[in-house]
């Protein structure tokens, strides 16, 4: 059983076809990186997988449960999206922390008020996670009092507190100053070591190379090439991949 199984995704905004038949499966414990130039459709792909966008056509399954499928030429989404949403977490490029909630409340509010879990248990879990991420002393702080790197670590904790099966990252370090990206990447690496299933859209090539089990290169709304980091970064056969990687190494 795949954790995520998404097939034949098509998505257009007006006349602009952003995704042209994209498929991807992710299994438990796998770390998949999605790379590609801006406008290649990788963020839209992530937003389709996390239900922030509806696909024009395609199928989507989490944990073997069908979320969206084709009936004739019409796509049909299941009604029970609440349960599906509990399977995944998403870390945004711009953190999207709730500014009026303290760090603790940002992390614990959804598990308590959405998942209806025991508040005591949730707070304990949150405290452990914050400690692990080096944010133990920030539980009562408000997002505006944190640095970008701290904010992003809080938003990772917020996603983890929901106990997701799979965690998505949408360019998690793009909004950070270069000297702050390290602390966030370190946290993601910790998660990978702990066998967290993850899909990471990123521009950090060295990081993707080091951490991924599998790398997907997207361009112009299609998957140009996919494979192990070695296959992609060291022995690519595709001219477009080579060009893209060269631009990044400069």
């Amino acid at each position: 059983m795949h954790i995520l199984d998404i097939r034949n995704v098509r998505k257009s905004f007006g006349d602009n076809e952003v995704l042209k038949d994209i498929s991807l499966t992710v299994d438990r414990g796998e770390v998949v990186s999605v790379i590609g130039p801006s406008g290649s459709g990788k963020s839209t792909f992530l937003r389709c997988a996390t239900l922030l966008e509806t696909m024009d056509s395609g199928t989507l399954r989490y944990m073997g449960e069908t979320v969206a499928s084709m009936q004739g030429d019409r796509i049909v989404y299941t009604k029970d999206l609440k349960k599906i949403r509990s399977y995944f977490g998403l870390v945004f490029q711009n953190f999207n922390l709730f500014p009026h909630f303290s760090v603790m409340k940002n992390v614990t509010d959804a598990p308590i008020s959405v998942q209806k879990r025991d508040p005591k248990e949730v707070r304990e879990t949150a405290r452990e996670l914050l400690d692990k991420m080096g944010l133990g002393d920030k539980a009562d702080a408000y997002p505006c009092e944190l640095s970008g790197g701290q904010k992003q670590r809080v938003s990772i904790v917020r996603a983890l507190a929901m106990k997701p099966e799979i965690l998505f990252f949408d360019e998690p370090t793009s909004a950070l100053d270069p000297e702050l990206t390290g602390e966030v990447l370190k946290v993601i690496r910790q998660l990978a070591d702990a066998s967290m299933t993850m899909v990471i859209v990123t521009h950090e090539m060295a990081f993707a190379h080091a951490i991924s089990d599998f790398v997907v290169f997207m361009d112009g709304g299609v998957i140009v090439e996919q494979g192990t980091p070695q296959e992609l970064f060291e022995g690519t056969k595709q001219e477009r991949t080579r060009q893209f990687l060269q631009n990044y190494q400069r």
Partner: protein, 218 residues
Amino acid sequence: MTFSTMVGELAHAFINTFLIFLLTLIGSLPLGLVVYFGKKSRFKPLKWLTEVYISIMRGTPLILQIMVIYYAPPLLFHVTLPGNWRFSAVVVAFVINYAAYYAEIYRGGIESIPVGQYEAAQVLGYRKTQTFVKIILPQMVKRTLPAVTNEVITLVKDTSLASAIGTIEMFTKAKQIAVSPRSPGMLTFLVAGIFYYIFNVIVAFGMKKLEKALDYYQ
């Protein structure tokens, strides 16, 4: 009339001024949210009706709205209204007028909240109402507070429009006293002005406190 009697009379009439002010706030602040939802409704007739309502409320003088609400029921529909309708009509007029302004202020506040807040809430599984009440509304309150403060201060001064239909409040009273024999005359208006000013200073202070209280986040 002695000076102190005059001040006492104004203070007494000020109770009505304050009541108009208070009842208007209690009525119009929540009603503004209802109007906002009406305007955002996907049900077209409701949306259309709300837009017309807002446009009329903002596009015609408040004093005229007060007169229409006070005189229209008995004159057009031959309804006899209770004795305190003179006061109630003013409050009704103020509430529906200010609600229209608040609806627009709320709209500005809500639309200025980044879409990422909705997306984060959605991914975390919040329902629509939960998202609005827990995530959007508190941020909207903070964002709209300066604009709301402006309206509240304007409201203090607008209460004097109640004199258009002879509702006894401080301004009506001041006008009556000022022209009466053996009264302190023009001094009455000065004292009334001081009343309004002090009240507004207190209101502004209160709103400032409220803004301070919400300063813990940005």
